[in-house]
C-alpha cells in the first residue's frame, strides 16, 4: 500500500501575522485549510494511508484532522522535532513508510497529478511556470531528472520543482548522506541530485499547481478554488435577499432581507449576513460571522468568529479570527494612481503585483469607529486601532494605534 506523506511542519514566516497563530498549511482557502485540498485530492487519487509531518503548532493540524476517521482514511502524525529542512522532514518518517508519495502541504496539487505520480515510481512532479525566478528549476533529459538547481536570476528553463515526489525506502540512504546546504538545512533537492547520479528519477509534468508564498497568494488560490465549487444552500435565505451565481451558504446561517450576494462566494455556518449588505465575487466567509447593515465585502478571505457589523467596506483583504470592526471602519484597496501595490514584509520591499490589495489582518484585532486602513497594510494580532485612527504599513502585534 502506497502511503502519502504530507509535509506540514513549516511556520510560514512570510505569511506573518496570519501564521503567528496557525501553521501555514492550516490557512483557509474557501473555508478549508490548504492541506485539506491535498488530503481530499490524494484520497480521490486512491491513497488511503497518510503520514503528516508536523511541528509548528502541530496541535491545530491534529485537532482538525484527527485520525482521519471522518475522511475514512488513516492519518498518522510525526513531529519533525527541529526544523532542519525538507530532507530531514522526510527522514523522520523512515520507520513508517515503504513505498510513498511526499507532498508539500502548503501547495495545492490536483487529483489527476497525484494519480500520475502514484503510478510513476521514483519520480518527482514538475510544473511549467512563466516566471520561474523564485523557484528551484529542473534540468531533464528524456523525461528523466538530470539535476535540480537553486533559484536563479536568469533561469535557463521554465520547468520548476513542484514539491511532490514518489519515493521508496532507498531514499533514506541518500537522505542520511545529504549534507547541510548553505542555508544550513538538509534539502531534499540535494538528496535527489545524489540519487540522479546513482539511479533513474523520472519526471511527471503537473497540470495544476498553486503555491502560497505571500499572504496575497491566498486570494489567488481562493479565487481558483471558488470557481470550481458548486452552489449549495443549507442556511436560511430571507425574503428579498438576492443570491446570484454560485453561492454556498452553511448550516444555521441566515441571509437577511436586502442582502445581495454575487457568487462565487462561500459563507460558513452560524453566520448572520445582512440585512442590506453586499457580498461580491470571490469572497470566503468563515463560520460564526456577522456581516451587518450597509457592509460591502469583495474578493476577500475572512476567517472564523469575526464581525464586520456596520457600514464597513472590505476589499481584497484577509481578516483573521476574532476581529471586530467598529462602525464605519473601511479598508482602502486601490492606489489613487492605480499602480501596483508595494508592501513591506520583514523589512523587505515587495511588489505584490496586484493593483488591488487591502489589509492582511491577524487575529483579535479591534478597530474603533470610523477608523481607516490604508492599502497593503499588515496588522498584527491583538492590535487595537482607536476611533478615527488612520492605519497604514506594518503594525506589529499587540500594538495600539489611537
Amino acid at each position: 500500500m502506497v502511503k502519502c506523506v504530507i509535509l506540514a511542519a513549516g511556520e510560514g514566516k512570510r505569511i506573518h501575522p496570519l501564521t503567528y497563530t496557525r501553521p501555514k498549511v492550516m490557512l483557509p482557502v474557501a473555508n478549508k485549510p490548504i492541506i485539506e485540498y491535498n488530503l481530499l485530492n490524494a484520497i480521490n487519487a486512491g491513497l488511503k494511508e497518510f503520514v503528516f509531518v508536523v511541528a509548528y503548532k502541530s496541535e491545530m493540524v491534529r485537532n482538525y484532522f484527527g485520525n482521519g476517521e471522518k475522511y475514512k482514511v488513516k492519518i498518522e502524525y510525526i513531529n519533525q522535532g527541529e526544523p532542519k529542512g525538507t530532507a530531514h522532514a522526510i527522514g523522520v518518517v523512515e520507520r513508517f513508510v515503504d513505498d510513498f508519495i511526499v507532498l508539500c502541504g502548503d501547495t495545492i496539487f490536483g487529483e489527476n497529478d497525484i494519480k500520475n505520480i502514484l503510478n510513476t515510481k521514483n519520480s518527482i512532479g514538475l510544473y511549467k511556470l512563466d516566471n520561474p525566478k523564485e523557484y528551484g528549476i529542473v534540468e531533464t533529459k528524456n523525461d528523466k531528472i538530470v539535476k535540480i538547481y537553486e533559484k536563479m536570476d536568469k533561469p535557463f528553463t521554465n520547468i520548476i520543482n513542484a514539491g511532490i515526489y514518489h519515493f521508496d525506502k532507498k531514499v533514506f540512504d541518500f537522505i542520511k548522506k545529504t549534507d547541510r546546504s548553505p542555508r544550513g538545512e538538509y534539502e531534499i533537492t540535494d538528496t535527489i541530485n545524489m540519487m540522479t547520479e546513482k539511479s533513474i528519477v523520472s519526471s511527471v509534468i503537473l497540470k495544476e499547481w498553486r503555491d502560497v508564498v505571500y499572504p496575497w497568494h491566498l486570494l489567488d488560490a481562493n479565487e481558483e478554488v471558488l470557481k470550481k465549487l458548486d452552489e449549495k444552500i443549507e442556511g436560511t435565505i430571507e425574503k428579498n435577499a438576492t443570491i446570484k451565481g454560485k453561492v454556498i451558504v452553511g448550516k444555521n446561517t441566515i441571509v437577511m432581507n436586502g442582502s445581495y450576494i454575487e457568487g462565487p462566494v462561500v459563507i460558513g455556518e452560524n453566520c448572520k449576513i445582512g440585512p442590506n449588505c453586499y457580498i461580491r465575487p470571490y469572497t470566503s466567509i468563515g463560520d460564526s460571522w456577522h456581516i451587518g447593515n450597509a457592509c460591502e465585502i469583495k474578493n476577500s478571505i475572512v476567517f472564523d468568529n469575526s464581525n464586520i457589523p456596520h457600514q464597513n467596506y472590505v476589499g481584497d483583504s484577509i481578516i483573521g479570527s476574532g476581529c471586530n470592526f467598529g462602525a464605519g471602519t473601511k479598508v482602502a484597496n486601490l492606489r489613487l494612481d492605480k499602480n501596483n501595490i508595494i508592501v513591506t514584509l520583514n523589512g523587505k520591499i515587495i511588489d505584490s503585483k496586484r493593483r488591488k490589495l487591502g489589509v492582511i489582518m491577524g487575529d483579535n484585532v479591534q478597530t474603533g469607529i470610523n477608523s481607516m486602513i490604508n492599502i497593503g497594510s499588515f496588522i498584527g494580532n491583538n492590535v487595537s486601532i482607536g476611533p478615527g485612527a488612520i492605519v497604514k504599513g506594518v503594525i506589529e502585534p499587540d500594538s495600539k494605534v489611537m
Binding site: S58, E59, R62, Y77, I78, N79, F96
Partner: protein, 604 residues
C-alpha cells in the same frame, strides 16, 4: 533532587534521552546514566557531568529507554549509586527522583527473600520491590510496589519482558508526560522533550501512567483510568551559553543591566507615572489586604526580607517573611492576607507546599517566578514573571535582583492603591528604577577594585557581613553568596545585634564587611565599625560614592552610587555578588556547580 526521563517511540532512544538529560542538568549533575531496551536492558552510567556519559556511550539501538541525572542524597557519588537501577534479575530498570523514607526496612525484607543490592541508594529497592510484585503485568507490579513506599518519588520504569511500555508514577516529586505522535515522553520537566512535542499532561499526586508508543493511560491510586487534559505549551527554551565569560555566574552578574530592563519592561511608565501589572495581579493587589506574608527559601527568602522593609514603608501594611518549609506547617494562614511566594524555578517543593496550604486556607496567592508554565504559576491566583532568562549558575544572581525589583514594584503599586505615595514621589522612584541599569554598570566597572578586596578575604576562615535596616537582609545575602560558592564560613548579622552574641566569635582574623549607606542609622553603623575595629578585625565598608567620612573608620572602602532613600541599593547586591565570585575564583572553587547544591530544590 534529580532529573529523570523516559522515552518510548520511534527515534533512537539514546539521542532523545541524552538531549533530554542535558536540559535537566540544572536539577543535578554528579552522575548520570541511561537504560535502553534492545532485547535486553542495556545500562550505561558514568560519574560526572552528562557530557562524560555522552563521550563514553557506545551507539545503542532501541527506541525505548529511561535516563537519569543525579544529585546524590542517599548514598555517595559512585557508579553503582548512579541510576538507572536494575532489579536482581536485570529485567526491570528504574529511575527515581525523591526520597524513600522506609527503604532500610524494605531492603531488609527483600534481602531476606534473596534479592541482591549493589548500591547504597534508597532508589534501588524500588526496582527489586517491583520485581517482587511482578506477576506478568508491569503496571500491577508498580501499583503493588508503590503502595509499600513511604516518602515521595517520581519514578519511571521499564521491563524487558514488556518492551512496548514505560510506566511513570509520582508523589510530590515532579513528573510530566509529553504526548507525541507515535512516541511519548516522561520527564521531570518540560524542556527535556519540548523539542519533540509541546503537548503535555500533568500528573496529579499518586497517579500512575502507562505509555506505549501510541497512547497514554493515566490511573489514579485506586487503579481507575482517569481522563486527563492535554495542555499545549507555548514557549521556547533558549540555550544559555557563557559568552566568553569564565563562568555562568559572572556572565549572569554582567547580565543584570539587561535583566533589570527586562523586569521593568512594560511595567513602568515615566510619562504616565504609573506601574502596570497584568489584570490578575492588579485585581489581587486592589483587593482588601490586611497583611502580607512572603514565603520563600534560600536567596529568595532574603529577597523577601528586603521586600518586607519596602512594602511596609510604602503601604503601612504589616508584612511577615517566612521560610516556606516552616510556613507550610506552622504559619498562620488568614483569609484576608496576601501570600507572596518567591521561587526562581517555580518548582521549589517547600514553596509549592506552602502555596497550596495558603490557598487551601483561603488566602490570596501571588507568585514571583522566572519560569513560565511552572507549577507555581499554575496553582496560584496570579503570578509575576521576572523575565530574567535562564539562570544556569547555581548561585542566584540576576534572579535575586529581579525578585527585589518585582517586590519594589509591588510595594509602589500598593502604595499608590492605598494613597500612601504621591504622583510626584512615584515619579522620583520610577526615575530611580530607570537608572538602575546605569548604576549596576557603574559597579561592574569597579570589578578590579572588588577583585583586590577579594584577595583580602580569600584566606579568611570566617567572614561577617553586617548592616542595619534594609542592609541587614543584604548582609545575609552577601554571606550566603560567599559561603555557597567559596566554602568560607560566613554569617550576616544586624549590626546592632553583634554585641548580643556574635562578638564572641570575632577574632583578628575575621574580616567584617559593613554595608554603610547614608540613612538614619549611619552614625550607629559608624559606631559599630568602631566596635569591630576595637577587636582588631579588618573592616571592609561598602559605602555611597559621596561618603567622605567612612575612610576614617574602615580599612577598605568600596563605593556604590547612592540609593534613593529607602529603596534598597541594587548596586550593593552586585558588589556582594562580585565579591563572592572573586573570592571563590581565587580559591579555585567550582563556581557554577558548588558541591552539594543544586539549582532548584524539589525535595523537602
Amino acid at each position: 533532587m534529580c532529573g529523570i526521563i523516559g522515552y518510548n517511540g520511534f527515534r533512537d532512544a539514546d539521542i532523545v534521552i541524552l538531549n533530554g538529560l542535558k536540559k535537566l542538568e540544572y536539577r543535578g549533575y554528579d552522575s548520570a546514566g541511561i537504560a535502553i531496551i534492545d532485547k535486553k536492558q542495556q545500562v550505561y552510567k558514568e560519574i560526572g557531568e552528562i557530557k562524560n556519559l555522552e563521550e563514553k556511550l557506545p551507539k545503542i539501538k532501541g527506541t525505548i529507554g529511561i535516563g537519569h541525572t543525579r544529585w546524590a542524597t542517599t548514598g555517595g557519588v559512585t557508579k553503582n549509586n548512579a541510576h538507572p537501577h536494575l532489579s536482581t534479575s536485570g529485567k526491570i530498570a528504574i529511575v527515581h527522583n525523591g526520597i524513600i523514607e522506609n527503604y532500610v526496612k524494605l531492603r531488609e525484607n527483600l534481602e531476606k527473600k534473596g534479592f541482591k543490592f549493589v548500591s547504597q541508594t534508597d532508589s534501588e529497592i524500588i526496582a527489586n520491590l517491583i520485581e517482587d510484585n511482578y506477576k506478568g503485568n508491569l503496571k500491577d507490579a508498580v501499583f503493588s510496589a508503590i503502595k509499600k513506599l513511604e516518602g515521595y518519588y517520581a519514578i519511571v520504569v521499564t521491563c524487558e519482558d514488556e518492551p512496548d511500555k514505560i510506566i511513570g508514577a509520582r508523589l510530590q516529586s515532579p513528573l510530566v508526560i509529553g504526548v507525541g505522535d507515535n512516541e511519548n515522553f516522561l520527564a521531570s520537566d518540560i524542556p527535556a522533550f519540548l523539542k519533540y512535542t509541546n503537548r503535555v499532561i500533568y500528573l496529579n499526586e499518586a497517579e500512575i501512567c502507562v505509555l506505549t508508543k501510541k497512547d497514554v493511560k493515566v490511573y489514579n491510586k485506586d487503579e481507575k483510568v482517569v481522563d486527563k487534559k492535554e495542555n499545549v505549551i507555548d514557549w521556547n527554551i533558549q540555550d544559555a551559553e557563557k559568552s566568553g565569560f569564565p563562568h555562568f555566574m559572572l556572565k549572569e552578574i554582567y547580565d543584570q543591566p539587561d535583566t533589570v530592563n527586562q523586569v521593568l519592561r512594560g511595567r513602568i511608565s515615566e510619562i504616565h507615572r504609573n506601574i502596570n501589572f497584568n489584570e490578575n495581579v492588579e485585581n489581587l493587589l486592589n483587593s482588601n489586604i490586611s497583611s502580607i506574608q512572603i514565603v520563600a527559601c534560600g536567596t529568595s527568602y532574603y529577597a523577601g526580607l528586603i521586600g518586607k522593609y519596602i512594602i511596609e514603608k510604602f503601604t503601612d501594611t504589616p508584612v511577615f517573611v517566612e521560610f516556606a518549609s516552616e510556613y507550610r506547617y506552622f504559619g498562620l494562614k488568614h483569609e484576608s492576607s496576601l501570600v507572596i511566594a518567591i521561587t526562581q524555578s517555580g518548582e521549589t517543593l517547600d514553596t509549592l507546599a506552602a502555596l497550596r496550604e495558603a490557598k487551601n486556607s483561603g488566602c490570596k496567592t501571588l507568585v514571583i517566578t522566572n519560569v513560565v508554565g511552572s507549577t507555581a504559576t499554575r496553582i496560584s491566583d496570579a503570578y509575576i514573571l521576572m523575565q530574567s532568562g535562564p539562570e544556569i549558575g547555581v548561585a542566584a544572581t540576576k534572579t535575586f535582583t529581579s525578585q527585589i525589583i518585582v517586590l519594589l514594584l509591588i510595594a509602589l503599586k500598593l502604595g499608590m492603591i492605598k494613597n500612601k505615595i504621591s504622583a510626584v514621589q512615584l515619579y522620583e522612584y520610577i526615575r530611580y528604577l530607570r537608572e538602575i541599569p546605569r548604576t549596576v554598570r557603574d559597579v561592574l566597572n569597579k570589578n578590579n577594585e572588588i577583585l583586590d578586596i577579594a584577595k583580602q578575604l580569600k584566606n579568611a576562615e570566617s567572614v561577617f557581613f553586617i548592616g542595619r535596616g534594609v542592609n541587614y537582609p543584604l548582609s545575609l545575602e552577601g554571606a550566603l553568596k560567599l559561603k555557597e560558592i567559596s566554602y568560607i564560613h560566613a554569617e550576616g548579622f544586624a549590626a546592632g545585634e553583634l554585641k548580643h552574641g556574635p562578638f564572641a566569635l570575632l577574632t583578628k582574623s575575621t574580616p567584617v564587611v559593613v554595608i554603610a549607606t547614608k540613612d538614619a542609622t549611619y552614625d550607629k553603623i559608624l559606631a559599630n565599625i568602631g566596635e569591630v575595629k576595637a577587636r582588631g578585625s579588618q573592616v571592609i565598608a561598602i559605602a555611597e560614592i559621596d561618603d567622605t567620612e567612612i575612610e576614617k573608620h574602615a580599612d577598605f572602602v568600596l563605593r556604590v552610587p547612592g540609593g534613593s532613600g529607602v529603596l534598597p541599593s541594587i548596586p550593593i547586591i552586585v558588589v556582594l555578588q562580585l565579591l563572592a565570585y572573586h573570592v571563590a575564583d581565587l580559591r579555585k572553587c567550582s563556581i557554577d556547580k558548588p558541591r552539594n547544591l543544586a539549582k532548584s530544590v524539589t525535595v523537602e
